[in-house]
């Protein structure tokens, strides 16, 4: 499907439309959609909540943020650096989940779409 011409909505719209409906009815696709939705929601929620706590603490909990931990390192600096760490970890984990749990499922859906008679 790479070379469908420059115009994306050519005369193939009808056959393409039915193919997409078929993909949507594939059970594997339904699982893929549910898992993708769940992991996207989970990662978004983790990111938003953790970042928001940090932001609010920066303006409304300054006593806590100024508390010294070791030498000149205080809670503010450590929690800021933890935002970096959590971003790296979250990105890594999400990518690994996509690669290991979602991509194989996706490959099966694509294979099913290429040979529709084999589905169910």
């Amino acid at each position: 499907m790479r070379a469908t011409g420059f115009c994306s909505h050519g005369g193939m719209a009808e056959t393409r439309g039915t193919r997409y409906v078929a993909i949507n009815q594939n059970e594997r696709f339904i699982v893929l959609r549910r898992r993708t939705g769940r992991v996207t929601l989970l990662v978004s929620a983790l990111f938003l909540v953790w970042y928001f706590i940090f932001v609010v603490a920066c303006v409304f909990a300054r006593g806590l943020m100024g508390h010294r931990l070791a030498g000149h390192l205080n809670v503010a600096l450590v929690s800021g650096l933890l935002q970096f760490v959590s971003t790296f970890v979250l990105a890594r984990r999400y990518s690994r989940y996509s690669r290991e749990a979602l991509d194989p499922l996706k490959a099966q859906v694509i294979a099913d779409a290429a040979a529709p008679e084999r589905v169910r």
Partner: protein, 542 residues
Amino acid sequence: MSAVSGDARALTFALLAGLVCVTLGITFWARSRTHGAADFYAGGRAFSARQNGLALAGDFMSAASFLGISGIIALSGYDGFLYSVGSLVAWVPVLLLAGFLRNAGRFTLADVPAYRARRPEAVRIAGAVSTVTVSVFYLVAQMVGAAALVALLLGIRPGTTFLGMSAGTAETVTIVGVGGLMVLYTAYGGMKGTTWVQIVKTVLLLTAGVVLTGLVLGRFGFDLSRLLGSAARRSGHGDAFLRPGLHFGRDLAGHPGRTLAGKLDFVSLALALGLGTVGLPHVVGRIFTVPDARTARTSVNWAIGIIGGFFLLTLALGFGAAALVGRDQITAQDPAGNAAVPQLARELGRHLAGRAGGDLLLAFVAAVAGATILAVVAGLMMAASTSLAHDVFGHVLMFGRPRERQELAVARVAAALVGAVAIALSVFARGLNVAVLVGLAFAMAASANLPAVVLSLFWRRFNGTGAVAGIYGGLLTAVVLVACSPVVGGRFAWFPLENPALVSIPAGFLCAVAGTYLSREKPDPARFAELSARALTGVGAS
């Protein structure tokens, strides 16, 4: 004492001229390998994950972040770091959406919501309006910043002249020069050219950051706590320098209302930074330059690693400047602290190898900052001209069936047009605060673009009217609130926050939902089926 010696100035010029020659060479080379729309708009979709990661990071690490953030850290300490945190965490939503966008879109942000509309033309126009508005705001911020920086780096202060130019004239000349050069890069080299320019610049910027950080830490025996203590002592703020509260949401005794407004203003800015990146047209445009969704995700991972590392370096540079250059010298050069890193470079070089060493390191950092400005401006122009040519000309004026050659010609003309508008606005906006302008561009991107993209990917009931309402609603709310904010001032300044994101992002989502339910446009299940199948599997993606 003149801030910049003649030798350093000549050296800076020579290095910058060399860099411009290299990037022009890249541009001409890219032109000879650009044959068609996918090449021009998306660099042939052939960049590797690492290449695109470097370019994405480069688009994001502007001179504003390199010099601006370290400058704020050098003067206000911890609060400058908050910009870095917000800018980095913002890449989590980019990572989440990158794969879907790569599969579902072709060249622009508007590609995705346009899929859900029965009459996609209106969505495309709305998408182009928001893309051009956000890009032009961001462009003006970059060029105004560039002008101030060049004057600073060349040592032209108010009242003195350089080659017969006063500071004001030199700034105008810089704006016109940078803008004109970048129109040439964009119109001529397309996405291939701008991406390679961006990659070269990112490598240079990282090199500069690593070298300077190594030198700073070396001065403190690689003891972070000693660096922090020394910075706090010389800042004149003591321990408060290492805590939040010197720059954002200051506690004003006796003014509880204004104190609260300042704090909410910071929350608003943090929200804009965290959610705006994924709506920035030039960031989204880069996602289409790789072959598939998996490469898109990997490239965002590269970008996260690079940007995270870079912002950690700016932390060391900012505290290093506070400790080694000192507050008085930094503010004497520039009250906003934008010159702190070049000053730090000179101090480190001088300590290492005398005056010549200082001049050399200063010239290197100044030239890298110059290259950074050029590359970011080119990326922004690319995004705006792509949207005008692909969305407005190709899909609206030519009903989705343009001649490819015509559309590319339009893209090149559009680049010149956007460049001219940005140059004109920048000359008028010279006095505006760059950080506020950038925060505003992020707020508009988050309010106008995020709701339309997210809802078209995940909400079955969504339709074209909702997309149009969301884009215009979010954009207008942001613009109106800024016009009535203390930034603009005047009699109508009833809105207490400088950054509108806290109100305008929910407003964007609300308008999108309201538009969907209030319109008579029926939802189209087949379109949602097609879009979600494409977004999740990549079947039929170009």
